[in-house]
């Protein structure tokens, strides 16, 4: 019963933390665009939170630069359980055009565990919402 309630509330209220790990901004503006009137993710109870302590879902973009690697691990650890990670965009999946550059790790899954990948360069807001919804469907 309690488990059911917890699962229901978790599906209905995913708070997200936006994390840029060295992306080119394109995915980031599309994530922000998803908050705005046309897409309005608050319909699904999704709120953008400022600190990892409040977040349930980390939405990360970018190919992960060497400099930010430690920060990402730290933010991941600061997020209380249960937490989920969505890698948005081709960079966060595998590095995209930056694959092979000396300063990138080439994908978010090289650093922290990832639950869901949203492809696209950049991923459209519709695709990002779809990604979050699919992730919640997994629960």
């Amino acid at each position: 019963m309690l488990d059911k309630l917890a699962r229901w509330s978790r599906i209905k209220s995913p708070w997200i933390l936006h994390l840029n790990s060295g992306a080119c901004n394109a995915c980031d503006i599309e994530i922000v665009a998803a908050l705005t009137p046309r897409f309005d993710v608050e319909r699904f109870g999704i709120l953008l939170r400022a600190t990892p302590r409040h977040a349930d879902v980390i939405i990360a973009t970018g190919p992960v630069t060497r400099q930010i690697k430690d920060r990402i691990i730290r933010i991941y650890e600061q997020t209380p359980d249960p937490k989920f990670v969505i890698a948005v965009g081709a960079c966060a999946m595998a590095g995209c055009v930056y694959r092979g550059a000396y300063n990138v790790m080439g994908g978010l899954d090289q650093v922290i565990p990832v639950d869901m990948y949203v492809p696209g360069c950049p991923a459209r807001p519709d695709a990002i919402i779809d990604g979050v919804v699919k992730l919640l469907g997994k629960l």
């Binding site: 840029n20 992306a23 933010i75 950049p122």
Partner: protein, 400 residues
């Protein structure tokens, strides 16, 4: 009591990773330091390993907001190296997309400025209108963000009559709405109180610190590459450089609003005067040995690409200078003696595009204390140099 607050590298006011370290006394900033490097990907090295066409797509991905700027600047340079003259129609479409991009970027910035000031309604309204221009861009280029419309020697997609009509319609709608919202934004006292007189940068400082774009123009310095170094179509259009003389964040808002209105005019002129003909010429695979400097007025300021070719399919050296980098020195000056509450506003006012600035570069470093993101060799020297850096609460756990 002075202590230091870190802003970033992950901070809600900054959508991109950067670290600002502020020394504050109470609520007043006494010193500011910027540390980049979180977004350094090494694009200049990568560019040396790719051919001329592949590099267009790499250049687009320097930055998602001004992707067309970098691609256009690069393509201009390559065309000059290959001695190609793109057809007029192709150029018109290329710079039409440029101006549409400027509209999208400035609307985005206005929204972000509202958000930084806690005026979320303004943010929501400008971003709703931004969707109109995003739709136009998607219609013209087939993509919302990375347009991929440039190619060496012209553009890749043509415009038909229906699309032209839609662009005119969209621009008319945008102009009406922009004017209305800016009237509201300008008459909302709490918003104006937040941005007037904040982040002062005099004209002398702007010149000395090599500021560019709207930041320089808001200090009354009428520098615009489109006028100074008129490339392609800009000498055929009627427009003027937007400036303001208040030297503060309000002035930067005003400059951007004026530029929006100018861009609407330019878009209309370009659509109406679109010449007939081809949109592209065939480009060779190799460029002749040589070098060139290409300049382009991106939404954030002057964009410079220096390309050196050695006669092969790949560039010998590709150097990118994005406008944001040029504005950092000015930002540090603007931040001093401001309030904590003004940090995001001032920083946002240069419209920082960190991914642009950092395709290879970094500057002033700012971390200290127990968080060693500086090199250890450097730590000791800095510890000696600035003994006042100690934190008030040594045990503090930073969330970021």
């Amino acid at each position: 009591m002075s202590f230091q607050i870190p802003i970033g590298p992950q901070h809600p006011a900054l959508k991109e990773p950067i670290s600002l370290r502020m020394t504050v006394e109470g609520e007043v900033i006494t010193d500011a330091d910027i540390r980049l490097g979180y977004n350094h990907r090494g694009i200049e090295k990568l560019a040396e390993e790719r051919n001329w066409i592949q590099n267009i797509y790499l250049m687009e991905r320097i930055c998602g907001i001004c992707s067309h700027s970098h691609a256009t600047c690069y393509v201009q340079a390559v065309e000059r190296l290959m001695e190609l003259v793109p057809p007029k129609r192709g150029l018109y479409i290329r710079y039409l997309v440029s101006e549409l991009e400027r509209v999208h970027s400035h609307l985005l910035w206005l929204g972000v400025a509202g958000h930084e000031a806690g005026f979320d309604s303004f943010f929501m309204y400008t971003w709703r209108d931004r969707e109109i221009v995003m739709d136009l861009l998607e219609m013209v280029s087939g993509n919302r963000v990375h347009y991929a419309i440039n190619t060496v020697g012209g553009v890749r997609r043509d415009l038909d009559e229906g699309q032209k009509a839609k662009i005119l319609e969209g621009v008319a709608m945008l102009r009406k709405r922009s004017v209305y919202y800016f009237k509201i934004g300008a008459s909302e006292p709490s918003f104006v109180a937040r941005i007037a007189g904040v982040g002062l940068l005099t004209k002398e400082q702007a010149v000395a610190l090599c500021a560019v774009g709207p930041t320089a123009r808001a200090s009354g310095w009428d520098r615009d590459v489109r006028k100074e170094d008129p490339y392609a179509v800009y000498d055929e259009l009627e427009w003027e450089v937007a400036t303001a003389d208040t030297c503060d964040v309000l002035g930067r808002v005003v400059v951007r609003v004026k530029e929006l209105l100018q861009s609407y005019n330019m878009i209309e002129q370009m659509v109406q005067g679109l010449p007939a003909g081809d949109i592209t010429v065939k480009a060779p695979r190799k460029a002749k040995p040589g070098e060139t400097v290409s300049r382009y007025e991106a939404p954030r300021g002057e964009n410079i690409h220096y390309i050196k070719s050695n006669g092969t399919e790949k560039p010998e050296r590709l150097k990118v200078r994005a406008p944001t980098l040029a504005n950092y020195a000015a930002t540090v000056v603007m931040l001093k003696n401001g309030f904590i509450a003004d940090i995001p506003l001032i920083f946002a006012a240069i419209d920082p595009c960190i991914c642009c600035a950092e395709r290879s570069v970094t500057l002033v470093d700012g971390r200290s204390g127990e968080e060693s993101i500086v090199r250890t060799s450097d730590l000791r020297r800095r510890a000696l140099a600035r003994p006042a850096n100690a934190l008030v609460k040594g045990k503090a756990v930073w969330p970021f």
